[in-house]
């Protein structure tokens, strides 16, 4: 059960890390911001060079060919300037450009490590192809076809773009507060005589139970019992429990007994 497309990386400690992959839309916006910044940079550079060449003229009496040459290089080599912008930022800010920082995205290697100069260079040289025929059409098509929304440059460089969840992830304090609140709302307790064979449940089933218990306070009063019933009734049949009216209590009991078989929580 997953909402975002996720990249799952197994660390050398055999722990699975999950990264939420960036969607086509956010990446497109990030690229748009970057391209606008490049345009702005080009205009600023042109104006600056204009003043510099005037300044040179006031000293030497003639326009400098060199200043003009720099300007021509910038304009004629626009695509090189674009490649350079992305490569330098992604190398220095380990996988971010101003646009990506704004949209809270980051480029990482597909083994979870930070990217280095080579990866940044490869994925941005191939931007030339992803841009074709216009507005990143090739890039968008490959991203839609790819499981990990990668454009061509990402494939060759072995990189993915992920959502930076640093600001979204809760702080430890929030986690603890919420956890306590959760426990207090439960009415099920260990004195219950109901014995459930929770080992029969699949991971998806127990996830459904947990998700309901966490979100039930936010559900409207009419739909809450209906949702509880829709989750509880199939489970009652599966666990061969006689039908009972208090669905939420049953779900809490399933959750409690499932967690009671934990083995690793005590040192």
């Amino acid at each position: 059960m997953q909402l975002d497309n996720e990249l799952i990386i197994e660390t050398p400690e055999h722990v699975q890390l999950r990264f939420a992959l960036a969607s086509v839309g956010t990446r497109f916006l990030a690229a748009l911001i970057d391209h606008l910044l490049q345009l702005a940079g080009l205009i600023v550079a042109s104006v600056l060079l204009y003043f510099i060449s005037d300044l040179v003229k006031s000293f030497t009496g003639s326009y400098s060919k060199w200043v003009f040459a720099i300007w021509v290089t910038l304009v004629a080599g626009l695509i090189l300037f674009v490649i350079g912008y992305f490569t330098v930022f992604e190398t220095l800010w380990s996988g971010q450009t101003p646009g990506k920082r704004w949209m809270k995205l980051r480029v990482i290697r597909d083994d979870g490590r930070a990217i280095s100069f080579f990866e940044a260079f490869v994925r941005n040289v191939l931007r030339v192809i992803d841009l074709l025929p216009s507005a990143y059409a090739v890039g968008v098509v490959t991203m839609v076809l790819s499981n990990e929304s990668r454009r061509l440059g990402d494939y060759v460089a072995g990189t993915v773009v992920v959502k930076e969840r640093a600001s979204e992830a809760p702080t430890l304090f929030e986690v603890l507060e919420h956890h306590d609140h959760e426990i207090r709302t439960r009415t099920a307790n260990a004195q219950s005589s109901l014995r459930l064979d929770v080992r029969q449940l699949t991971n998806d089933e127990i996830t459904a139970v947990e998700t309901f218990l966490i979100r039930r306070a936010e559900l409207p009063a009419q739909t809450r019992p209906l949702t509880a019933a829709r989750i509880a009734v199939p489970l009652m049949q599966k666990l061969a429990v006689p039908p009972m009216a208090n669905y939420e209590w049953f779900l809490e009991e399933v959750d409690r007994q499932y967690k009671a078989k934990a083995k690793y929580l005590v040192d």
Partner: protein, 317 residues
């Protein structure tokens, strides 16, 4: 029970968070030796806690929190070898030439396509002048009237030079990048260049118009070699799509794509020097012998450079 577990471990997590914020700012370098060890230990403990929390506490917020914490620590600990200035020097000095020798067949293939098309074009142009109009209209009149069009570079050497560099770099980047379409783009650019250069060379020989050939020889060695290497890099990458060998197409593309980009990195300084020569030396009104000398010198430099023995301590490619 879940709460006991969290209470027992949360001081570890908080300590890891503190060290992580230090480490991210200073890239692990500002930590003392003891702190680095502690950081590693805390990371391992927290990774284990994370696995337990996901399996047994199953609180989505806690799992989310720990995933983030472990993920960021993983990023700080497992880094690729930093490619600082030394890495750059090592690359251009040793791994670059070694890589060229390893992939010379692709460069040679690009050269061969160029040669075949240029012989073809030269042959036809020699038979029939008008063939040159098919790919370079206007050139015929210039050569017939012995007009040296390259002379206009002298009106503004720095600007022309920079335009030449950017234009060549663009051709190189396109020959490389379009190689991803099974090598077809690279083939096209090599063929197009062969057609042009072969045709114009034949035309100049036919009408005994030497200044253009003398103009080309000065920068030609660097420029053409760079274009061949770029085309070869494109073919290398395209080859991964056609014959991936024991790997999947995706894996082959990554492996050879990185090599191909390294080849491109060798091209860039060559194109820069070629552009400077083409902008300042080639059009200059000096005795042709100096231009021949530049041509010979650049050829010798390339031979010496690409035969540099691989003295790296351990292979990093």
């Amino acid at each position: 029970m879940g709460r006991d577990f969290i209470d027992r471990r949360q001081s570890n997590w908080q300590r890891l968070e503190e060290m992580l914020s230090l480490a991210v700012r200073g890239q692990l370098r500002i930590l003392h030796r003891e702190q680095v060890r502690e950081f590693g230990r805390l990371y391992q403990r927290t990774a284990a806690d994370f696995a337990i929390a996901r399996q047994e506490i199953r609180d989505t917020r806690l799992v989310n929190y720990l995933n983030n914490l472990v993920g960021r620590s993983h990023g700080a600990i497992y880094r690729s070898k930093s490619s600082g200035f030394k890495g750059f020097w090592e690359f251009y000095r040793y791994s670059g030439p070694a890589l060229f020798r390893e992939t010379w067949r692709y460069t040679f293939a690009a050269f061969a396509i160029f040669m075949i098309l240029s012989l073809f074009s030269g042959f036809w142009v020699y038979q029939d002048d008008n063939f040159v109009n098919q790919f370079a209209p206007g050139m015929l009149d210039l050569v017939k009237n012995k007009k040296n069009w390259t002379d206009r570079i002298n009106t503004d050497n720095p600007t022309m030079s920079s335009m030449i560099v950017t234009n060549n770099a663009r051709v190189a980047v396109y020959s490389f990048a379009t190689g991803i379409f099974a090598g077809l783009g690279a083939l096209f650019f090599m063929a197009l260049n062969g057609l042009h250069i072969g045709g114009i060379t034949a035309l100049c020989i036919k009408y005994k118009f030497w200044p253009i050939l003398i103009f080309m020889c000065g920068h030609g060695v660097f420029e053409l070699t760079a274009i061949f290497i770029a085309g070869g890099a494109g073919l290398l990458m395209g080859g991964a799509m056609v014959v991936p060998g024991n790997l999947t197409r995706g894996e082959a593309l990554i492996e050879r794509g990185i090599k191909a980009v390294k080849l491109m990195l060798i091209c860039l300084p060559m194109l820069l020097f070629a552009g400077i020569i083409e902008g300042f030396v080639s059009p200059a009104h000096i005795a042709p012998v100096y231009k021949y000398a530049v041509s010979t010198a650049t050829a010798l430099i390339l031979i010496f450079y690409f035969s540099t023995p691989d003295r790296r301590e351990k292979p990093t490619v």
